[in-house]
C-alpha cells in the first residue's frame, strides 16, 4: 500500500477526507469560513447531531429506529402545548421528556420482549407518533405563549448558541458512554454477536430496551430545542430526519451489521452532512439537486467503508 492509500483507508481515513474537504471548501466557497456561517452551519445540524448520538447505539447493537423524526416532532409539540397549558416551561420540558422516553420504551419492549423486527416496529410507531402529533394539534402549528421558551435556542454562552453547547455536551457524554462504560461495550458486543453476548451474561433484552428508551429521551431533547428555534410546535417538523441521521451515522463508519461504531466518526458524518447542505445553499444550488448530492455522498461513504474493510483484510 502506498502511504496515501494507507492514510485514506486507515482508521482515521474519514477524518482526513473531511479535513481535506473542509480546506478545499474554505478556500473556494465565498463566505464559508465566516463566524456567522460557521455558527449557522452548526445550528443547522443540532437536531441531526443530537439524535445521531443514540442512533449510533441503536445501529451498533444491530437495531434500527425509523421513529426518531416523529418522536422529535411529537415531543416538541408536547413541550409547547404543556407549557402553554400549565404556564410553566419546566413542566413542559418534563412532559416532553416523559413522552419521548415512553415512545422509546414502547419501541424497546416490543422489539426486545416480543421479538418483533425493529424495522417493522419503528415503521409502525413512526406513523402512530406522527399521527398523535397531528391529532394533538389538529394538524396546525401551535405557537409558543411564553417568550422565554425562545431563549432555549436563542441564548448564548461565550458567544455560542446554547443548542450548539448541548450538542457538544451530548457528543462528549455519548462518546464516553460508548468507549468507557460497560453499557457501551455491551452495546457493541450485542451488535457483533447477540447470541454469544447473551451466553456471556449480557442481558440482551434489557440492554435493547434501555437503548431505545435513551433514544426516545434524546429525541425529546432535540424536539424541545427544535420547537424553541422555530418558535412553535409543528406536527410536520423533522420529517425525513431518520434518514439524515442514519446517513450521518453510516457516513461516520457505524456498521449497519452492528458491532462497529465511533463517536468521532459520527461527529464527522454529521458535519459532512451539514457542510454539504451549507455549501449548496451558499452556492445557490437548487434544493432538487441537493437530494442527489446527499445520496451520492452516502454511496461514496459506504463504498469507502467497504474498501477500508477489504484493505484491513478482515476475514468475515
Amino acid at each position: 500500500m502506498t502511504s496515501l492509500k494507507k492514510l485514506l483507508l486507515g482508521e482515521q481515513g474519514l477524518v482526513v477526507i473531511f479535513a481535506l474537504a473542509f480546506l478545499v471548501v474554505s478556500l473556494t466557497v465565498p463566505n464559508f469560513l465566516t463566524e456567522r456561517n460557521m455558527l449557522g452551519l452548526l445550528q443547522s445540524v443540532v437536531t441531526i447531531g443530537i439524535v445521531a448520538c443514540t442512533m449510533m447505539f441503536c445501529l451498533a447493537s444491530r437495531d434500527f429506529d425509523l421513529s426518531v423524526g416523529s418522536t422529535v416532532a411529537f415531543s416538541g409539540m408536547v413541550a409547547v402545548m404543556a407549557s402553554n397549558a400549565t404556564g410553566s416551561i419546566l413542566l413542559g420540558l418534563v412532559a416532553a421528556l416523559i413522552c419521548g422516553g415512553l415512545v422509546g420504551t414502547v419501541n424497546g419492549v416490543v422489539i426486545a420482549r416480543f421479538r418483533i423486527n425493529a424495522l417493522i416496529t419503528t415503521l409502525a410507531t413512526m406513523q402512530i407518533v406522527r399521527g398523535l402529533a397531528l391529532i394533538a394539534s389538529d394538524g396546525r402549528a401551535v405557537g409558543i405563549n411564553d417568550p422565554s421558551f425562545y431563549q432555549l435556542a436563542l441564548s448564548r454562552f461565550l458567544g455560542i448558541p446554547t443548542p450548539i453547547w448541548v450538542m457538544a455536551l451530548f457528543f462528549v457524554a455519548f462518546g464516553f458512554l460508548l468507549n468507557r462504560t460497560v453499557f457501551g461495550k455491551n452495546t457493541l458486543a450485542i451488535g457483533g454477536n447477540p447470541e454469544a453476548s447473551r451466553l456471556a451474561g449480557v442481558d440482551v433484552a434489557r440492554m435493547r430496551i434501555w437503548i431505545f428508551a435513551l433514544q426516545g429521551l434524546v429525541c425529546a431533547v432535540a424536539g424541545v430545542l427544535l420547537a424553541s428555534r422555530i418558535t412553535s410546535g409543528q406536527p410536520n417538523a423533522a420529517t425525513g430526519l431518520e434518514l439524515s441521521v442514519i446517513s450521518a451515522c453510516v457516513l461516520g463508519g457505524v456498521s449497519l451489521a452492528g458491532g462497529r461504531a465511533a463517536m468521532t466518526g459520527v461527529i464527522v458524518g454529521v458535519l459532512i452532512m451539514g457542510i454539504a447542505e451549507n455549501v449548496m445553499n451558499l452556492l445557490n444550488i437548487q434544493a432538487f439537486y441537493q437530494y442527489v448530492v446527499r445520496g451520492l455522498i452516502l454511496l461514496m461513504a459506504v463504498l469507502l467503508d467497504n474498501l477500508r474493510s477489504s484493505a484491513a483484510g478482515r476475514r468475515a
Partner: protein, 508 residues
C-alpha cells in the same frame, strides 16, 4: 514417485504478524501429507494461499511441475485445487445433487436436465463409496455427511489436490472413520491430499509424509512418516518436551458443590440428575448428539427448562438466565466457538473481559488499565498468539480464538461451578496441557468443574469421574479407579443391535 505439489519460499505477512516465512516443501503424487503446528503457526494461511483465497507476498506454487499464477479461488478451482474449510460451503436448501452441480447445471436453454442431474451424481457417489441420497436437501444431512458431499464435489471437479483444514473437529469417531476410508480411496486414485489436524492419532493413521510449521517457518519435513515418533513431532511443534499431556494428580475433594436434580428441557426429555464436589473434575462423555451440551445449557439457563432444580453449596438457584447464573457462580463455556463464542469485530481484550469487566467498573465505568492487565495476563497464560490485545478477534487463528473464549471464563471472578464444552477443540498439544494445568489449579482452589468432551482419551486423562450419556440419559457413572475404555464406550453406544442406525443418531 515424483513430486507433484511444491511450495517454494512462500511468505505471507499480516499487519504485525509474519504468518509464513520462506516455507518450502513438496508432496509426492498420491500422498496424504500432514500439516501440523501450534495454533497460529500458519497452517490455515498456507492452505488459504494454496486455494487462491489469499495471495502470498513472495514465493510460488508448482503443480505437476507447472508454476501456478492463480489470483482467486476460481482460478485455483480450474487448476484442480480444492480446499475444504471447516465452515462448510454447501447451500443447505438445495439437494445434494444440486449442490454438486452448482454453477454449471446440466441442461439446455436454462432448463435443468433432472435426469442427468441426479444420474451422474449417484454414479459418482457410488464410485467413491459415499452413501448419501443425491435427492435429499443438504440441510437434512449430518455434519459428517455434508463433509462427504464436499469431498464428492471436489472429486466431481476432477480435483488433483484436495486440502482439508481440521476436518474431523466436529465429527463423531464413526464419521471420522468413514472420512478416512474415503481419503484412502482418493489416495489410491493419485490425488494429493493436504491434511491439517491437531490430532496425532489421525496423522499417523492417514498420512504418508508430514510437515511441521512453527511460528510461520518450516520446523521439520518428514518425507516418510514411519521414520518419526510422536514425541519427536510434539517437540518439533512446541519446541520442548511434553512428557505427559494430561498431568493428572490426586486431589482432595470437598463437600458437594453443584447439585442438579431432575433437570429437563425441550431437547432433553428425560430428567437428569447429578452432583459435583468441590475440587472435582467431572467428565461428561458420549457420542455427538447424546445430549451433553443440552444438559449443560439447561443448567446454565441458556435454554428454557421444563423442570428440575440446580443448587450450589446447598442453596437452590432460582436463576434461569445466563446473567443470573454467572452471578450465582455458574458459568458455561459453549461448544460452538463461531456462533456462541466470539464477538466478531471486537478486540481480543473486549472478548475476554465481556463478563468479568463488571468487577472493575465502578458505576459501569470501565477501568482500562485493569481491563488491559487482565487481558494481557490471560493472553500470556493461555499463550494466545497475537501482536496485541487490541487485535480484532476475527484475525486470530481458530485455536487462538478458542483460547480467548476460554480466557473469558477463566478470568471471571467468584466462579464456583465451571462447565466447559469441548475445551480443547482445535487447540494444539502444548496449549492443551497448559489448559489442563489451569483446570487442576482451579479445582484445587475448590471449584467444581464439568468437562464435556467427545475425545475419550481427554476425558479419561483429566477427569476424576466420568458420566457417560447416551440418547439423552445418563448411562453410566464411573470413578477414576474404574476407568476402562471398553466399558465407557459400551455405555455410550445406544443399543448394540441398533449399531447400524448409529450414524443417524449422531445427526445434530
Amino acid at each position: 514417485m515424483q513430486d507433484f505439489l511444491e511450495f517454494r519460499t512462500i511468505s505471507k505477512g499480516y499487519p504485525g504478524v509474519q504468518a509464513l516465512s520462506n516455507v518450502s516443501f513438496s508432496v509426492r503424487k498420491g500422498a496424504v501429507h500432514g500439516l501440523m503446528g501450534e495454533n497460529g503457526a500458519g497452517k490455515s494461511t498456507l492452505i488459504r494461499v494454496l486455494s487462491g483465497d489469499q495471495s502470498a507476498d513472495t514465493g510460488e506454487i508448482l503443480i505437476d511441475g507447472a508454476q501456478q499464477h492463480y489470483r482467486s479461488v476460481r482460478d485455483a478451482f480450474h487448476a484442480g485445487v480444492i480446499v475444504i474449510h471447516q465452515e462448510l460451503q454447501l447451500v443447505p436448501e438445495l439437494t445434494v445433487a444440486e449442490n454438486l452441480w452448482l454453477g454449471r447445471f446440466p441442461g439446455k436453454a436454462g432448463v435443468i436436465d433432472r435426469q442427468q442431474l441426479t444420474g451422474v451424481v449417484s454414479k459418482k457417489l457410488a464410485e467413491i463409496g459415499i452413501d448419501v441420497d443425491p435427492s435429499v436437501k443438504v440441510a437434512s444431512l449430518s455434519i459428517g455427511e455434508r463433509q462427504m458431499v464436499e469431498i464428492a464435489k471436489a472429486v466431481m471437479l476432477d480435483a488433483r489436490v484436495i486440502a482439508l483444514d481440521e476436518p474431523t473437529s466436529s465429527l463423531s469417531s464413526r464419521e471420522s472413520e468413514i472420512l478416512f476410508s474415503l481419503i484412502d480411496r482418493l489416495r489410491a486414485n493419485g490425488t494429493v491430499i493436504l491434511y491439517v489436524s491437531h490430532r496425532l492419532d489421525e496423522i499417523f493413521r492417514l498420512c504418508d509424509s508430514l510437515t511441521v510449521l512453527r511460528d510461520g517457518k518450516l520446523a521439520a519435513h518428514h518425507p516418510d512418516i514411519s521414520k518419526v515418533t510422536r514425541d519427536q513431532i510434539i517437540s518439533e511443534m512446541v519446541g520442548r518436551e511434553i512428557a505427559n499431556i494430561w498431568g493428572w494428580r490426586e486431589r482432595s475433594l470437598g463437600q458437594e458443590r453443584l447439585r442438579v436434580e431432575n433437570i429437563s428441557g425441550a431437547k432433553l426429555r428425560h430428567p437428569i440428575s447429578f452432583s459435583v464436589r468441590r475440587g472435582e473434575i467431572l467428565g461428561f462423555f458420549g457420542l455427538i448428539g447424546a445430549g451433553r451440551s443440552e444438559m449443560a445449557r439447561l443448567v446454565y439457563g441458556a435454554d428454557a427448562r421444563n423442570g428440575g432444580t440446580v443448587s450450589v453449596d446447598g442453596v437452590t438457584i432460582t436463576a434461569d438466565s445466563p446473567p443470573h447464573s454467572i452471578r450465582s457462580g455458574i458459568v458455561l463455556c459453549p461448544e460452538d466457538r463461531k456462533f456462541d463464542g466470539i464477538v466478531q469485530g471486537r478486540s481480543i481484550e473486549e472478548n475476554m473481559t465481556i463478563s468479568s469487566r463488571r468487577h472493575f467498573s465502578p458505576f459501569g465505568i470501565i477501568n482500562p488499565k485493569k481491563e488491559g492487565a487482565l487481558a494481557d495476563k490471560f493472553i500470556a497464560k493461555l499463550r494466545v498468539r497475537t501482536p496485541s490485545r487490541r487485535q480484532d478477534i476475527i484475525n486470530l487463528s481458530g485455536g487462538n480464538q478458542q483460547k480467548v473464549i476460554l480466557g473469558r471464563w477463566l478470568s471471571e471472578e467468584g466462579v464456583k461451578v465451571l462447565m466447559i464444552d469441548e475445551p480443547t477443540r482445535g487447540i494444539d498439544v502444548g496449549a492443551k496441557s497448559e489448559i489442563y494445568e489451569i483446570l487442576y489449579e482451579l479445582a484445587a482452589d475448590g471449584m467444581a468443574i464439568v468437562v464435556i468432551s467427545s475425545e475419550l482419551p481427554e476425558v479419561m486423562g483429566i477427569a476424576d469421574r466420568i458420566m457417560v450419556m447416551c440418547e439423552g440419559r445418563i448411562a453410566a457413572d464411573i470413578p477414576r479407579a474404574e476407568f476402562d475404555e471398553r466399558r465407557i464406550l459400551a455405555a455410550a453406544l445406544p443399543d448394540v443391535q441398533n449399531a447400524n442406525t448409529l450414524s443417524h443418531a449422531q445427526v445434530r
